[in-house]
């Protein structure tokens, strides 16, 4: 991991997380809930955050790490501001989702799972969103785009780049 990109999250984040942990601590089997919350706060789950959670929940760090690495949803790498998540469900696959991934790779110059140098885009794929009627479909953060083709890929990238410029 390159050092420069990893910003050690500040105390405010940890405080927020601790408040949540205290709220749900009594519930059995709550580790996954806490990890969801933590990823929501920090954007990803660096080792420092994992060991913080282990400490506060009173579970071994190895258990937290084991769970984080088991589930695809949890990421130990920082992600771009906009996560392009391409559905690779069967319906999308049949309608050419792998081509859509290719378009993004070409346009962004990154591979799947990577983040662009400006920290703007991360390219990932997911298993079926359950929006097969829109195949091929993708999400950029919470926004859904259906019937995606080559032109739409360019439009989408442009849209977020412009959004960034205006902010």
């Amino acid at each position: 991991m390159e050092e420069a990109k990893v910003k050690i999250p500040d105390n405010e984040y940890y405080q927020k997380l601790e408040e949540y942990i205290n709220e749900v601590k009594h519930m059995p089997g709550t580790l996954i809930n806490v990890l969801h919350k933590a990823q929501g706060i920090f954007g990803y789950l660096p080792v420092e955050v994992q060991s913080f959670i282990a400490d506060k929940l009173g579970v071994p760090y190895s258990k937290v790490y084991g769970v984080v690495t088991f589930y695809n949803f949890f990421s130990m790498e920082p992600r771009g501001k906009y996560v392009v998540n391409i559905c690779m469900g069967t319906a999308c696959y049949v309608k050419g989702a792998d081509r859509v991934v290719e378009y993004f790779k070409q346009k962004l110059g990154i591979d799947e799972g990577e983040t662009t140098e400006d920290g703007l885009f991360t390219l990932t794929s997911a298993r079926c969103f359950g929006a097969c009627g829109l195949a091929p479909v993708l999400m950029v953060n919470e926004d859904v785009y259906g019937h995606v083709d080559r032109d739409k890929v360019s439009e989408i990238i442009k849209k977020y780049k412009e959004k960034e410029k205006n902010e």
Binding site: I32, V94, R127, A131, C132, A135
Partner: protein
Amino acid sequence: MAQRLNVLVCSGASCLSSGSIEIKKKMLEEIKKAGLEDEIRIIETGCMGPCELGPVILVYPDEILYKKVKKKDVEEIVENHFLKGRPVERLLYKSPETEKLIKKHEEIDYFKKQKKIVLRNCGMIDPESLEEYVALDGYEALGKALTEMSRDEVLKEIETSGLRGRGGAGFPTHLKWKFTKDAEGDQKFVVCNADEGDPGAFMDRSVVEGDPHTVLEGMAIAGYVVGASKGYIYVRAEYPLAIERLRKAIKDAKEYGFLGENIFDSGFDFDLEVRIGAGAFVCGEETALIHSIEGKRGTPRPRPPYPSISGLWEKPTNLNNVETYANVRHIILKGGDWFASIGTESSKGTKVFALSGDIQNTGLAEVPMGTTINELIYDIGGGAPEGKEIKAVQLGGPSGGCITKEYFDTPIDYESLTELGAMMGSGGVIAMSQDTCMVNTAKFFLDFNTFESCGKCTPCRVGLKQMYKMLDKITKGEGEKGDIDKLVELGESIKKTALCGLGQTAPNPVLSTIKYFRNEYRQHIENKKCSAMVCTDLLTYTIDPDKCKACTLCAQNCPVDCIDGERGVVHEIREDECIKCGNCYDVCPFDAVIKTTGELE
């Protein structure tokens, strides 16, 4: 006050992402402008089913269905239809055969052959309104069960109904309930599997998003029978709207006393909690799901003991799928005999299918068991678009198999599908035409299963990887004679030896495509040919010099600069450098780029 018109705006996942919220907003504005606020009510509903026609709007009491509505159409609908009583014809559905306009939504083929039990409320009510659910007999079944029936009587009714698990395996529901009921334990649990991970399946999502209370009610009834006071709904993280709606539904139901303590003054307590998955397909397997609720890695364990004996925190646990629970209240209200009168000898009731792939009417359809595949994909699904022919359907997702057109007259039930080497599965139906390569499809599913394998047992972890490698080789034109037999042999042994359902069924997509499409495998291996033109390594791109207008567009878009030529000079692709990305083929405005496959004659 009763309104003159009720306007239902579909807010299922598909319509939502094609702009239904904007349409609703605009409609509210326009209605206000026209002074119709008191006469017309707008209701945001769950999925109505015909996703291909989305965004969809249904107007009651006329039952008029508008399709592919855009924001700019709203003014016209309000002005002409709501004010003047003249439906906007250009937005109505047209019969594809007769070109005739169809106004009433029930007359549309897509709806005609369906029978809605599970989806009865989906698309009809506001999923976030408990009042609307109650108005349509909501929580009446729970009341009846708690106040008029003993636990055994409820169980008997489920037994009479013949309801079987809708998650795929088809285990009789009453037996599962009975095992949990009879199991010893101071604390028991009821769990709902809403971890709908099969790619191409979105039935459970639609039920939970469109009618969440129906699931809660079914779970509460199950809780009463088995003696559980606590339940969990395990939903995948990819369904944020479903999570939100379930949480709201639980909160509302508690406020009204349909959940919580002493429900209907019966002394029965039942509480529910939503647990969110974190992106692991294997968590659809029941023992893995239980581990995940416990906050652990979602790895399966050998059974027995089954969850009904030792499940969540080693307590007796009844675990069913969303659709199974959604059937329960109807069985209690209308009786097991009524339910058993629908369907076939061995499979009762209805099944919800999610139609997608190379099919015209993508969407959700609920049909009685025993409906043929033909009826499902042609009468309801409308067949493949652009005059293509459906050569096979894939059922049961990554655990299932395909069924070829020779068998499309097979009535759908658990046994007949298994006999054909497919399975009911959760209900995803993916249509495949001549544009779908079966070898590539098998590879896709195997890639899925290999990735999702939890790694605990060797046959699944190592065996699937080897199968994947072989398939990858074949799709790259490096297949060798004997590969097909090796695939079959390896697949069969994984089926026999893997630990859980994922591994035991993972080879199915490969075995079934080999069974029915061996010829496609052979073509890939012997002729280096992919007739569906899907496997990129087997394609060759050339430029037809007669058609090429030398516009340089292809050369500009070639990522590896392997196209020679300039303005006025006909272009040519240097084949040995071509990475077969297909950019040139896509961008050429004159169709001058030709795609071929197979060894040159």
